[in-house]
Amino acid sequence: MSRLPLLQSPGQEEPIDTAPSDAALVADALAGNVGSHEALFRRHRNSVYRLACRLVGRTEADDLLQDCFIDAFRSLPSLRDPGAFGGWLSAIVVRTAHKRVRRRRLLERLGLLRRWPVDIDMLIAPSVPPDVAVEIQKIYRLLGSLPAEAQIALVLHRIEGFSLDEIAVKMNRSLATVKRRLSLAAAHLDKGMRTKEGKA
């Protein structure tokens, strides 16, 4: 959500908040100021990197981060609502990650790539209880065997906590398609977890 820059109040030595909003930075970037591009990058870098890690793993997250920002800045004139830069950017991350995962699946099928080299331990925070860590590790190991779209949808839903509507917008899919992908992913996870734990 954009923030209006607060004007300096009489009697105050410093402004309360002069950080420009995303809308302002986008407008300035479109006017040609590289400084505003950099400001947008620095403001959204961590959230993009976090999402990238969770979607494709840390090994590929650096490349994905750069690709997404380059894509975003090149497409900036097409952004209709400058205040929605963050959401628009995360949709770019999701779609780019999806392409990468789909390409990975193809390479795996051709035997040209090992399956899902996500460094899971690096993803998990140090303070996490051991049983939760085991649970997350199981999920991420099983993710690699899901179809690309189901994998992306599941991470956005179970890990990131996005609503179904938000996932549909980010993945550029209908709501019903997102529900089907999540149902497939959940059924796959249930079956995989039972098999791995020796359950019937």
Binding site: D28, D62, H157, A176, L182
Partner: protein
């Protein structure tokens, strides 16, 4: 609602050197593809003042549009926020592109996207009719359960039909003008429905929230299936209600033990209700006398009692587990349980 696991994952903590190096690469890439003014990168100077003027004008326009839209939508008696419009029937709503949505009495429709490249609508319950403005470049998609109806310019009706006796639940599509393309469920190839035609699709993936008024299944198997569907689609509260109902109505059903186990898991993981989880897991361990499911129930019971800091109960449960599953999958984890705090 299940809590996202993201809160347990590490947050990025890059160094300034790393960020600067990343930005340097990005800047070099975009340098050749946009008319950017290279300089110190500062936000100061005449470029920033122009930016402030542009921003002030844009902000005023956004506020004006927002107020106008809010007033218009309040007059339609519909809930509204920046993204979603909820329409409850009987009501007719006109979308920004001139398309009309006529929601029947008892129906509920959510307009989740109105963009130049997509209009997305979901029927949550009941029936709605659509008179869609023709725009070849803009897909107009109506979702009902796991069925999509995609149109380019037509008039059609979509109705969610709940299960009635032996007749399965499904989605009915009736077209009065033009052509629509219907897809789902299970990724079947899309089918075209033309003017004057209607199609009914069975919809087994009942991913919509089950309301309190919806018909209740009459046997344990149906309740179990509905509970599983609710759980898989992320409706933990509804799944808990249905598993509970199954155990209350059909305690001797073959699936009762598994239902109790799932209930225990949900209460523990999704709802944070450890006491409720203990009760369900004890029931599961009693009903499932042996096997991997019993082992899982017993291990979970230890976790839940540990979480409640019931040290005596935890130690008893742990001793029971280790007596039967000394080399079980959870045996190593038992060592860390029930410690004094």
């Amino acid at each position: 609602m299940r809590q996202p696991l993201g809160r347990f994952l590490a947050e990025p903590s890059p160094t300034e050197e790393q960020i600067s190096a990343e930005w340097s690469k990005i800047r070099n890439e975009i340098r050749g593809t946009s008319q950017v003014r290279m300089g110190s990168g500062s936000k100061g100077g005449s470029g920033w003042h122009l930016g402030r003027l542009v921003f002030a004008t844009t902000a005023a326009a956004v506020i004006l549009v927002g107020v106008t839209t809010y007033v218009v939508n309040r007059s339609r008696s519909a809930e509204w926020d920046a993204m979603v419009i909820l329409v409850e029937g009987p009501r007719t709503t006109t979308l920004r592109d001139g398309s009309r949505v006529m929601v029947a009495s008892g129906g509920k429709v959510r307009v989740s996207a109105q963009r130049s490249d997509l209009t997305q609508i979901a029927i949550e319950t009941g029936e709605a009719e659509f008179d869609v403005t023709h725009r070849p470049s803009r897909p107009f998609v109506v979702s009902a359960g796991d069925v999509d109806v995609r149109v380019l310019g037509t008039r059609f009706r979509v109705r969610i039909e709940d299960r009635k006796g032996d007749v399965r639940a499904g989605v009915r599509v009736l077209v009065s003008r033009g052509t629509v393309e219907v897809s789902g469920p299970y990724d079947h190839p899309p089918i075209r429905v033309h003017a004057g035609e209607e199609r009914w699709l069975a919809s087994d993936l009942n991913t919509l929230p089950v309301s309190a008024e919806s018909p209740q299944p009459h046997d344990g198997q149906r309740l179990f299936e509905q509970a599983n569907l609710a759980r898989r689609s992320g409706h933990a509260g509804e799944a808990v209600r249905l598993y509970d109902l199954l155990l209350a109505r059909f305690p001797n059903d073959d699936r009762a033990g598994l239902a109790a186990l799932e209930l225990g898991r949900l209460r523990m993981d999704a709802l944070g209700d450890l006491r409720g989880a203990v009760a369900a897991l004890r029931e599961a361990a009693k009903t499932i006398p042996h096997g991997s499911l019993h082992e899982d129930a017993q291990a979970r019971l230890v976790d839940a009692l540990d979480g409640l800091r019931d040290r005596d109960g935890c130690r008893r449960a742990r001793a029971e587990y280790l007596a039967r599953y000394q080399r079980g999958v959870h045996a190593m984890a038992m060592g860390a349980r029930c410690a004094a705090r």
